[in-house]
Every structure is written in C-alpha cells, then in structure tokens.
C-alpha cells in the first residue's frame, strides 16, 4: 500500500516536472525567436490590451456597442474620405480616383488610387483610377464624379468649383448634378 502511494507520488512529481520542462521550452522559444515574440506579444496580447482599453472606455462613458462602421475609422486612415464619397454621390456614380503619383506622399491616403480597394467601400458605385484610363477607356468615358485628393483633380472638372479644398468630391460636369 505504502509502495503504491510512493509510486503515485513519484509519478505526480514527474508529471509536474514534465509540465515545468515544457514551460521552460516555450519560454526559451518565446524569448529567443523574434517571430514568436512578435506573434504572442504584438499580435496577441497587445491587440487584446487595445481592445480591452477601447471597450473599457466605451463602457465607462456609457456608449453603445461600437459598429463595424465606427471601428473602420480606427483601422483605416482615410475611411472618413471613403465615407464622404459614399454620402456625396448617387449609387450609379462612376468616380475618377487620383493617380498613384498624386497620393504616394500622403500616408493617410494610401490605396486611394487603387480602384480594386476603393470599390469595396463605395459599391454599387464604380470607380476608375487616372492610372487606368488607357486600360479601361469605356469606364473612363462614363466618369460622373472626380475624387479630389491632395489638390489633385480640379483640372478634370468642366467648371470652376469655387472653394478648392485639399480633399473633396465633385461632379465632373456641373455642381448641380449632385
């Protein structure tokens, strides 16, 4: 009986020791391999902390649950502009986006010249980048609005818009069509 109990106790100790050894192995991997460190501390824990912080602040201020629309303002630097395009244009609009060279120095406007990317936010409206005018001439002819970014695009308008903001959206033909 005593031997059996001692066996069990020894097995228990070995079991715990083994768990401890694996904990050390994982710790060594976490400390010595930057990839694991990045995945666990940056991808996992830091993001969890950020979410907790946002949610705590929301609850403290008695705010309603954040919608995906609202969260996009956190994640996508120029989401305000994409949202503005949606508000200011009809659903059948075809929007002319600036060429890459007009926005490549403005970090906030990254991807605004990519029609594939912008289309996601403005569907069912269509869009075409100035860079694509030779690739998609038919769609280029159908442009109804110009996305003015970083002062690019005013020369595409067939009228003088009056106030010239850095970023805006205008109908191509006349301001009344909007």
């Amino acid at each position: 009986m005593k031997a059996q109990s001692s066996d069990k106790s020894s097995q228990f100790r070995r079991n715990v020791l083994l768990a401890f050894v694996f904990a050390i192995i994982l710790l060594v991997l976490y400390v010595s391999i930057p990839g694991y460190n990045w995945a666990v501390s940056e991808m996992a824990f830091r993001n969890k902390e950020l979410i907790d912080k946002i949610e705590t602040r929301r609850l403290n201020n008695n705010l309603p649950e954040l919608t995906d629309e609202f969260k996009r303002f956190f994640k996508i630097g120029n989401y305000w502009y994409l949202s503005y395009i949606r508000e200011q244009t009809p659903q059948n609009a075809v929007i002319l986006l600036p060429p890459h060279e007009a926005v490549d120095t403005v970090a906030e406007m990254t991807f605004i010249s990519s029609s594939d990317w912008v289309e996601y936010f403005i569907f069912p409206r269509l869009c075409i980048s100035e860079d694509e005018k030779d690739k998609k001439p038919e769609l280029y002819k159908r442009v109804t609005h110009v996305a003015v970014v970083n002062y690019w695009g005013y020369d595409k308008l067939k009228y003088y818009p009056g106030k010239m903001d850095k970023d805006a959206i205008f109908p191509i033909d006349t301001i009344k069509t909007n």
């Binding site: 097995q11 991997l29 930057p34 995945a39 991808m43 993001n47 594939d116 990317w117």
Partner: protein, 460 residues
C-alpha cells in the same frame, strides 16, 4: 441567430457527407473535416445556380443543405449513438492528470482565444481582403451569382480568378446575416488545429501531439492570419487534411482516409488553384502505391476526384469569366538566372534565420517549424528511405511545383517584381508546407522515440 443556423448547417451538411465515407472518424476529426466539406457543398450549389442562371439566396442554400441533412440524418444519429461514449472531457483528477498535456492544451486555448477575440472584434482591414475576397463575397451575396458585375469593369481584384470556396464562403456568411464574415478564418483555424492534433495523435502520445500542434498553431506568420480574411490559412487547413489523411491511408491501408484525401485535395483546388502541386504529388503517391497491385480503379478514382474541381474551375474561367489561368504566366520559357537566384535566396531565408530582401534577419516567420523539421530529418537520415519516405516525397514534389509556378509568373502581368511576390504571395503560400513537415517530424522514428521516452518518464 440566422448566422448561427447558417454555420450549424455547414457543419451538419459536411458531417453527413463524411458519414457516407466512414463512421469511424473520431469526434475531433468530424468537427475538423465537416466545416470545409459543408462549405464546399454550399459553394458548389452556388456554382450550379450560377451556371444555370438561377440567383442563389440564403433560402436556396438553406433548403439545399436541409435536403442533404434530411436524407442522411440516420447516419448522423447512428454516429452519435456509436460515439457518444467517446465525447467526454479528459479526467480532471489531480493525481492522475497529464500535467504537461494540460499545460500545452491551456497554452493553445489561450492563444486561440486571444487571436479569435482580435479577429472577431475588428472588421476587415487588410488590403488583399478588401480589394478582393471580402469585396467578391459581399457582391456575390448581393447579386446571387459568381460572375458578379464587377468582372465587367475589371474591378474584381486579384482573387477573381481563384475558385470560389473562400469568397463563396464569405458570401454565404453575409447571406446568413453576418455583419463581418471574419469568423470564417476562425472556423478554418479550428479545422487546422483540431485536425492536425487528431491525425498526429494516431502515431504519438498526447504530449508530443500537443507540442507539435502548438508549433503549428503559433507559427508566427500563420498565427497572424487567424485574425485576417485571406485564403492562405483556409488553403493550409485543406492541404493539411488532404495530405495527412493520404499518408495515413497509405501507411495504415485505410481506404476511407484515401477517399477523404481525394475529396480534400479537390477542396484544396476549390480554394486556390496555385495548390495544384499538392494534387500532382498526391496522385503520384497513389499511383506509386497502387500500380503494383494494378488497382487502376483506385488510382483513377482518386485522380478524378482530386482534380475535378480544378477542371471545373478552369473551364468556368475560360468559358464564362473569360480570363484564362495562363494569363498570369510568361509567354516564353527560358532560364532567368537572376530571377532563379532571387527566389532561391528568399527560400533559403524562409527556411533559416538569415536575411534576404527586406525580411528582417532572424525574425523566423514560421518559428522553428522548418528548422526543427530539418534537424529531425537529419537525425532520421538512417531511416530516410524506409520511414515515411512518402511524406518527404510529397513535400518535395509539391514544393518544386509551387516554386515553378512562381518562377513562371510574369512580373509585368502581375504588376509586381519577383521580390515583392516572394515577400507576399509566396511567403503566405509556404504555410501549406508547415503541417506536412511537422507531421513528419512528430511521427517519424525519431519523433516516436522521443514521444515514447517522454511518456515512459511521465509514467515512471
């Protein structure tokens, strides 16, 4: 509520087809395999609707899935009766508990919980998902067809030529009321982790199986994809099941795993067409294993099932969408030594800790997955021909084809230099090779020897 019903329907539809193959799979395998199979069945429904010109809706998909479940509910019920005794939690007795296994399980669960919280909290924000997959899925759900209106204006994005499993899955979730479809990545991540664990555990003890499952689950670049809406993680889950079930089918001579492997190879090709190398490697292995016994029926059956989706999608691309797959490749074959050198150096840096291009040195994007595998292969060198040589054969063939696909890509047509392709698409495609090499490492003679030693020590 509708979303939960939709997801449940996917699992049940997948489980019924799985029961048709065999009722001997354990419950972890059923959970792992059912989701991709259910999603494939539903995206095939979408495909059929599209071809006959009938717009699909959530009702069409629901009733089609419901019909499959209703016709096979007896199989599901008998499976439950047969396996309900196995569906229990492990012993929680403090004296008998396998502490190392419990510790590794807890680490996996914590990491899974955290990355899932992140995934489900934030909406889609990564460029490729927005410019392609999420957009395709969203518009497919709105228009009820695969060839959506965006193809007319060439606004479909780079994922437009990929088969519809992933963006069709996104469309399915939108149809069933999802505000964000990102849960699809979590469900594939579950399939990957649970499936890998249950298949490796057929050879080694739980501690070893859990340790290698952890290495797979937390391979840094792959882990980050569990919170992104890209098709690489789903492709990895499908390749993992397709390949590991093939190895088990050949090793243990279990035909049910062979057919499952054929189905998952087809599912892999229904996810991404650049995974063709895995299908070719699998067919080569089946041919080598069965040609001596002149079992042409098995060889032919496997090959037919495996490439069926590839043929289907290639024809659809050519005849309906009118974008041939070859449109991305070089027109003239020739040896480009500079391109080859760049690619080889990138591959070398991915397998080791060295720097090439803008990839940081020592970062080890895949953790120790590749390095550990190389070390274990070297330790097992004496048995290399007799011990699971098919796994290495499969890896070499599929990797060579994967490498060649990228070598043949035309940088001008892709609008990106080869260095950029290596640091984005190629890097992500490497995920598919991690489970194959980790499976070899865990289950080769060296792996089994280590597993047995650990277990012997644990039990005294």
């Amino acid at each position: 509520m509708m979303l939960i019903v939709g997801i449940l329907m996917l699992y049940l539809t997948g489980a019924t087809l799985l029961m048709r193959i065999s009722t001997h799979f354990c419950w972890k395998e059923v959970i792992s395999y059912s989701f991709p199979i259910g999603l494939t069945i539903n995206t095939l429904f979408m495909f059929v609707c599209d071809v006959i010109g009938f717009g699909f809706t959530e009702y069409v998909l629901f009733f089609a899935s419901f019909a499959i479940i209703a016709l096979n509910y007896d199989l599901l019920y008998s499976y439950y009766q047969e396996h309900k005794k196995d569906m229990k939690l492990p012993s929680l007795s403090l004296s008998n508990m396998n502490y190392a296994a419990a510790f590794l399980s807890i680490v996996i669960l914590i990491l899974f919980y955290i990355i899932t919280s992140k995934n489900l909290y934030w909406p889609t924000s990564e460029h490729d998902a927005i410019a392609s997959f999420d957009k395709l899925g969203m518009v497919m759900a709105l228009e009820g067809k695969i060839k959506i209106s965006l193809f007319e204006y060439n606004l479909q994005g780079s994922g437009g030529i990929y088969p519809p499993l992933f963006h069709g899955g996104i469309a399915y979730l939108y149809l069933f009321g999802a505000s964000s479809p990102k849960i699809i990545s979590t469900l594939f991540y579950i399939s990957l982790i649970l499936g890998f664990y249950s298949l490796v555990k057929k050879y080694v003890k739980p501690i070893m199986a859990l340790f290698f499952t952890l290495l797979l689950a937390v391979a840094p670049e792959l882990y980050s994809h569990a919170a992104l809406l890209l098709s690489n993680l789903p492709a990895t889950a499908n390749v993992m099941i397709a390949s590991l079930t093939l190895f088990i089918a050949i090793d243990k001579k279990e035909k049910s795993y062979l057919w499952l492997s054929a189905i998952f190879t087809a599912i892999t090709l229904w996810t991404r067409n650049d995974t063709i190398g895995f299908a070719i490697a699998a067919i080569a292995i089946v041919f080598l294993s069965f040609y001596k016994s002149k079992d042409w029926k098995t060889i032919g059956g496997y090959a037919l099932i495996a490439i069926s989706t590839f043929v289907l999608w290639t024809l659809y691309l050519k005849l309906v969408i009118a974008i041939p797959q070859s449109s991305r490749f070089v027109d003239h074959l020739g040896f480009d030594s500079k391109k080859m050198e760049t690619m080889l150096l990138y591959v070398f840096s991915m397998f080791t800790w060295l720097q090439y291009g803008t990839m940081p040195p020592g970062h080890m994007l895949y953790g120790i997955s590749f390095l550990l595998s190389i070390i274990i292969i070297l330790l097992n060198i004496k048995n290399i021909r007799s011990d699971k040589a098919l796994v290495l054969f499969y890896f070499l063939i599929s990797f060579a084809i994967y490498f060649m696909i990228f070598y043949l890509l035309d940088e001008n047509k892709q609008d990106a230099p080869i260095s950029s392709l290596m640091e984005s698409s190629f890097k992500r495609g490497m995920f598919c090779f991690i489970p194959i090499l980790l499976f070899y490492s865990a289950t080769c003679k060296v792996g089994i020897w280590i597993s047995d030693k650990i277990e012997a020590f644990r039990l005294g």
